[in-house]
Symmetry: C2
Subunit: 132 residues, 2 copies
DNA sequence: TTATATGCAAACCTTTTGCGGAACA
DNA sequence: TGTTCCGCAAAAGGTTTGCATATAA
């Protein structure tokens, strides 16, 4: 049996992801912590982010034309991505259907862990710029 | 102004994606066509799939821990992915909410093009195997 | 004829991994 | 003191891109 250990890196990485709403990539997390942890390795950041995502402590979101992003907010919500500038935002849908996993489990026979919805489009700023 | 040309490669790639429900990766499309088109380049496959996805003729779906997949069926539906074996299936939800884009456009200010929902879990077979 | 598309191969970017040493417990 | 974790660097994907050539219109 494997016993997980607490390390400075681990706790700082988790705090970093939980402490921002920017949905950082692994590289961005690495950058955020480069001051606090001298010599922090990008590989360590990836390893920890993956562990945390697999254990459900954070979310890992795959986005077309972009490195994966990580979200410390695991409450049910959607994400919106701007195809032009890459801006990546939360969207807390009042109608978010938390029972969807259950319905689809019954109909598909899968045992579901999570789902991710990403909306793609143009943010207000890029929309304006495009019209000029 | 750019005039698009019809090529053998282009039409075969589109037919291949439209003619299967397997949600092939670019490499799989390349493999499917390697008999019909001698010397077909993987770069050409990528270029064409991207053009077709950008113009809305097909869908491009980004999946965690997997190369991007392409779907010739652009009608609204979800996808389910098995975390263990990678099986990737359609799910045609009777309650699929086609008005969701509009709602989110109004609330977020984005101009939306599409959204992709991917469910992650264990397929029935992998679920059984895990219990043993 | 000429501009777009292809094939080829190199480059790029993101992510994973093997290994030896550091450091939790 | 044993085992997990880290840093480092190399390697492994996956995808894009530059360039010369082929080809559709």
């Amino acid at each position: 049996m494997i016993k997980e250990r607490n390390t400075k890196q681990k706790s700082l990485i988790l705090s970093a992801v939980r402490g921002t709403k920017t949905h950082p990539t692994a590289e961005e997390v690495h950058l955020m912590l480069s001051d606090s942890v001298q010599g922090l390795s990008l590989g360590t950041v990836y390893r920890n982010l993956n562990h945390m995502a697999e254990s459900g402590q954070i979310r890992r979101i795959s986005v077309t034309n972009s490195p994966d992003r990580f979200d410390g907010d695991i409450s049910p919500h959607h994400h919106i991505c701007c195809n032009t500038c890459g801006k990546f935002c939360d969207f807390f849908d009042t109608d978010y259907d938390t029972s969807l996993d259950k319905v689809i489990e019954e109909k598909s026979g899968f045992t579901l862990i999570k789902h991710e919805t990403v909306f793609y489009g143009l943010c207000p700023e890029c929309n304006l710029n495009q019209k000029n």
